[in-house]
């Protein structure tokens, strides 16, 4: 690991005192950044340490929304969301990710901004446009089993690995930020990420000096929540494919639907085309299959990940079927189909 200086941040306005952000990184739980620094994939000169960012450790609950401080751990958020039917999707996604040890340390902001698990991004002896712009992409013609099928470009096919961000995308969460000039922004998480295009090393719309302070989620009835994750083993593995869904059905008609996919997109994938296709129609298997085809019309396999296209279709149809059957029987239901 390369030596670095430490700037301890205690409140967001401390950002003003940071001399330069050019070779700086914010450090939250470190479960991703410390690993990348060990591999020298990241080699910041300065770490802005968020462990003393005291305003950012709370979850606040108002009538309209829940606001989650960026330093709230994945464990605390999963526990909290488990108790709130309206946030069940978030709890289901978080508990399906990583392990207790990691979730105890990982934070909300860090989870959103975790980097890809592309093998070639991690292998510093191989070309990777994300790690070293202009060097090429070893994954496109390489072993690309965990790679994306949606949103990719000829320069990068890396997938975004986060389960939590997929649920946040379905729940239409809002990311709150503050920069070094003290300016604050609210960015829908659906607009936080950038497609790789020819600049896959630039992953979000955040400025280098822009700190995530919190994430908020509106309290609105969303019906049945299902997060379905498909992976190589039943615990402690990243998603090959995941589907985050909330659905309301009134008199057999889909009145409200939110859909996002994980493990398949270069960013947590908001399945907007499928949502639009489904909304207002009567819930049938045929409809669900068509909705999958509509969303997947632009999907592109790269060889070893071709299986993700039919797998995503089957997973989506399964989730939509479960959610609609449950809504038909329990039209007023909010949250998971079952929670102990």
């Amino acid at each position: 690991m390369k030596p670095f200086a430490v700037f301890p941040l205690h409140k967001k306005h401390d950002l003003v005192q940071v001399e330069s952000f050019e070779h700086s990184r914010f450090l939250a739980g470190g479960t991703n950044l410390v690993d990348l620094m060990k591999h020298q994939i990241e080699s910041p000169d300065q770490i802005i340490d968020l462990s003393g960012f005291e305003q950012a450790y709370d979850i606040t609950d108002s009538e309209q929304q829940v606001t989650i401080g960026t330093m709230v751990s994945n464990t605390e958020l999963a526990d909290y969301a488990y108790q709130q039917p309206g946030l069940s999707l978030l709890s289901q996604a978080l508990l399906a990710g990583a392990t207790v040890q990691l979730r105890n340390r990982a934070t909300t902001g860090g989870n959103l901004l975790q980097r890809t698990r592309c093998y070639y991004f991690y292998d510093t002896t191989r070309p990777c446009n994300k790690r070293k712009p202009g060097s090429g992409c070893a994954a496109i013609n390489g072993f690309n089993r965990n790679h994306a099928i949606l949103g990719t470009s000829e320069h990068c096919i890396a997938s975004h690995p986060s389960d939590m961000a997929t649920a946040m995308t379905a729940l239409d969460a809002t990311v709150h930020t503050c920069n070094a000039n003290g300016e604050t922004r609210q960015i829908p998480v659906r607009e936080l990420y950038r497609l790789p295009g020819d600049t896959p090393h630039i992953e979000t719309h955040l400025g280098a000096d822009e700190l995530i302070t919190a994430v908020s989620i509106d309290k609105t009835p969303r019906g049945t929540h299902i997060y379905q994750k498909v992976r190589d083993r039943s615990s402690y593995a990243f998603a090959l494919v995941s589907v985050a869904c909330t659905m309301q059905v009134k008199d057999g008609i889909i009145s409200d639907i939110n859909l996002a996919f994980g493990g398949v997109g270069s960013q947590p994938w908001h399945a907007q085309a499928a949502e639009e296709y489904l909304r207002g129609k009567s819930a049938t298997t045929e409809l669900f299959e068509h909705a999958a085809d509509v969303e997947l019309s632009s999907a592109k396999g790269s060889g070893y990940n071709d299986f993700k296209i039919p797998m995503l279709k089957r997973t989506l149809v399964h989730v939509l079927t479960q959610a609609s059957e449950h809504q038909n029987q329990h039209p007023e239901h909010e949250g998971a189909i079952y929670a102990r």
């Binding site: 690991m1 030596p3 670095f4 430490v6 450090l27 470190g30 479960t31 410390v34 690993d35 060990k38 770490i47 340490d49 462990s51 464990t75 999963a78 526990d79 488990y82 709890s91 289901q92 508990l95 399906a96 990583a98 392990t99 207790v100 040890q101 990691l102 105890n104 340390r105 039943s234 615990s235 402690y236 998971a336 189909i337 079952y338 929670a339 102990r340």
Partner: protein, 166 residues
């Protein structure tokens, strides 16, 4: 000056901010109980308790842990008297080479605390899950290359979960 407490003893934080908690314990304090399996957060051999919560010490930069209290496998026993889960590992023959064992035990002690606090696991969304499956899910962050898993689960299941973490 900022300090960290490990098994009840207070230490100054290391000068070099790159020092992970695992390296600090190994190289500065001669505490070799927590093991380095992968050094990348993937195996759980380095698991310790930080303010009672289990974490992978290989991914923790020590400077971030000012004023925290860490318990390692060395801090679980009461002098010569083993922690009940340590004894249960012996009684259930729950290790072969022993490399993963300190992490397994720290993780098991924490898992029992988490169950007492009613912390959910992903299996709580499945109406048909068993207690054993739930425990396996909770302990999946600790790999055992010798494959002692069945006995590890037996050991953790066998101990009384009212035991407090020291």
């Amino acid at each position: 000056m900022s300090s960290i407490t490990i098994n009840g003893q207070t230490h100054a934080l290391p000068d070099d901010p790159r020092t992970t908690l695992l390296d600090f314990m190994h190289q500065h304090l001669q505490l070799f109980g927590a093991k380095k399996g992968c050094d990348h957060g993937q195996c759980g051999a380095c698991t310790v308790l930080v303010d009672g919560e289990r974490m992978n010490s290989c991914l923790l930069l020590t400077f971030q842990l000012a004023e925290k209290s860490v318990t390692t496998i060395e801090g679980l026993s009461n002098g010569e008297e083993l922690h009940p889960l340590q004894q249960a590992f012996i009684d259930n023959d729950a290790f072969q080479c022993g490399f993963c064992t300190s992490g397994q035990i720290c993780s098991g002690v924490a898992a029992q605390q988490e169950l007492k606090k009613n912390r959910p696991s992903t299996l709580w969304f499945d109406p048909n899950h068993t207690k054993t499956e739930d425990l396996k899910e909770r302990l999946s962050g600790n790999l055992c290359r010798c494959g002692a898993y069945p006995h590890i689960i037996d050991a953790v299941s066998s101990t009384d979960d009212s035991q407090e973490v020291k």
